[in-house]
């Protein structure tokens, strides 16, 4: 990568750069209020800066646009380029569920309603990304809020999920019984016992 030209006069305002950075990583549209707080400037200034950025991206014919949607700002792909994005959607990275995603989906299906933290505790790993993916694919959805102080989102499986698995209702999920481990697990368990653990 080439270095920035050294005669960088005048430096680009930090506020604009900070907005670009924040917009790069947020999942949901960012409210101007939050941006104002992060940047320590007034909300009017934020609106002004965002319009300035949006206009510049348009003028520069970027492949992305900065839009105001659902009360906040976010980056989106330029409508012109939808064909490329569609092609990516078709043969992209998410054509199959990973083993981790399937396990997470299973936990939600059998233990619903369940919070992200509960799923994470069961699986022993952080599950935020996987939950988001499952939610975006419409297999799980928010079904309630925890009564506790955090009011954590509780997830359950969707109608779409039942349809995809060819199930009438959740009652049709294969019963767990007394948790009879499958053949591979039996082997693992036996070996584990033999090792005197």
């Amino acid at each position: 990568m080439a270095d920035a030209p050294h005669a960088r006069t005048p430096a680009r305002p930090e506020e604009l750069r900070a907005i670009e950075a924040v917009l790069m990583v947020v999942e949901e549209p960012v409210e101007p209020g939050l941006l104002a707080e992060l940047l320590e400037v007034g909300p009017a200034k934020v609106e002004h800066l965002c319009s300035e950025l949006a206009a510049a991206y348009q003028a520069e014919e970027r492949g992305f646009v900065l839009v105001r949607v659902a009360g906040g700002y976010r980056f989106q792909t330029h409508p012109d380029l939808a064909p490329y994005v569609e092609r990516l959607a078709l043969r992209g990275q998410s054509a199959r569920l990973s083993a981790a995603a399937l396990e997470t989906l299973a936990v939600v299906a059998y233990k619903q309603p369940v919070s992200r933290a509960q799923v994470a505790a069961i699986r022993g790993v952080e599950v935020d990304g996987v939950v988001r993916t499952l939610e975006r694919r419409g297999y799980i959805e928010e079904v309630a809020r925890d009564a506790g102080p955090g009011q954590a989102v509780l997830y359950g499986t969707s109608r779409h999920f039942l349809e995809r698995l060819g199930l009438d209702s959740l009652d049709d999920l294969p019963p767990l019984g007394d948790f009879v481990p499958g053949p591979e697990e039996v082997e693992l368990l036996e070996n584990g016992l033999r090792s005197g653990e």
Binding site: L97, Y110, L189
Partner: protein
């Protein structure tokens, strides 16, 4: 694994400065490195009893004793004791040269291991730095926009409800996941070479023995197999003669080689250590 458990003051042993979650010594190599490099202690001025005492105290803090760790510690402590004894006692007039060389090679092995351990400790710090730097730049992972969701192929295609249940059972498997024992029986530790060395020590004395006798007291099937391979190896080299009366009958092994054995007889652990050290030394030079 000596990395859990409450921290207890270990006398002369301070906690490692960069230990993040569990400021305890992870093992004898850790401890030695700390003593020599950080504390700059002449080990011969430190009472080995206190090192051992501190380490035992630490082990007691653990809920269960890890045999491997304890053994490892014994090995290192034994080398230290031997080195110290050699240093403290006036040299006897008739020094056993073999013993002397043996001791030096043990020392070198320990040194090589310490160097290797230190190398990876420093590499670990570099990796941490890399991760730390990388964290300042966060990736965009927002993913596909909702309006393209209809285009995405169904990721559940071909997934059955049974597979889902199996996935749950995997997720519910008690952790730590039970593991297959054999892979922590190191191939190196049960190496055919070692078995050959042992057999060529035993057999000349026995003259002839049944394979059953040669594997007496060996409980691990893997070790029996390794011994069997070793017998075949000796046969290939014309050092033994094999005789089996009937199929599945007693296998008799008769020594044909010269007395005294032809192969050096390192203890299994030592041989393993030595191999590891040679490898690491080669790496440093490379």
């Amino acid at each position: 694994m000596v990395c859990a458990g409450p921290n207890r003051p270990l006398g002369i042993l301070h906690q490692m400065p960069y230990e993040v979650s569990t400021p305890v010594f992870e093992g004898p190599l850790d401890l030695l490195l700390h003593l020599i490099v950080d504390e700059q202690v002449d080990l011969y001025e430190v009472s080995i009893t206190s090192i051992v005492g501190a380490y035992l105290a630490h082990l007691e803090d653990l809920h269960h004793l890890e045999l491997e760790t304890a053994t490892e510690f014994l090995l290192v402590a034994a080398v230290l004791v031997e080195l110290k004894v050699r240093r403290l006692l006036p040299a006897p007039s008739a020094v056993d040269l073999d013993e002397e060389i043996e001791l030096w090679s043990k020392r070198d092995v320990l040194l090589a291991r310490l160097l290797e351990c230190k190398t990876y400790k420093q590499a670990a710090q570099a990796l941490e730095q890399l991760a730390f730097r990388a964290e300042r730049s966060r990736p965009r992972t927002v993913g596909m926009e909702d309006r393209f969701a209809c285009v995405m192929p169904d990721a559940l295609a071909g997934v059955t409800a049974e597979q889902l249940r199996n996935a749950l059972e995997r997720a519910l498997m008690p952790r730590p996941v039970p593991r297959v024992v054999l892979d922590h029986v190191t191939p190196v530790r049960a190496s055919v070479r070692d078995a050959v060395a042992q057999l060529s020590d035993e057999l000349p004395r026995l003259g002839q023995a049944s394979f059953r006798r040669l594997t007496e007291g060996v409980v691990e099937r893997l070790q029996i197999i390794v011994r069997f391979l070793a017998v075949l190896e000796l046969y290939k080299d014309g050092l033994v003669e094999l005789d089996q009366g009937v199929t599945f009958g007693e296998l008799r092994v008769r020594w044909l080689g010269e007395d005294g054995g032809l192969v050096p007889q390192p203890s299994m652990l030592e041989a393993q250590v030595r191999e590891g050290a040679a490898e690491s030394v080669a790496e440093y030079q490379g």
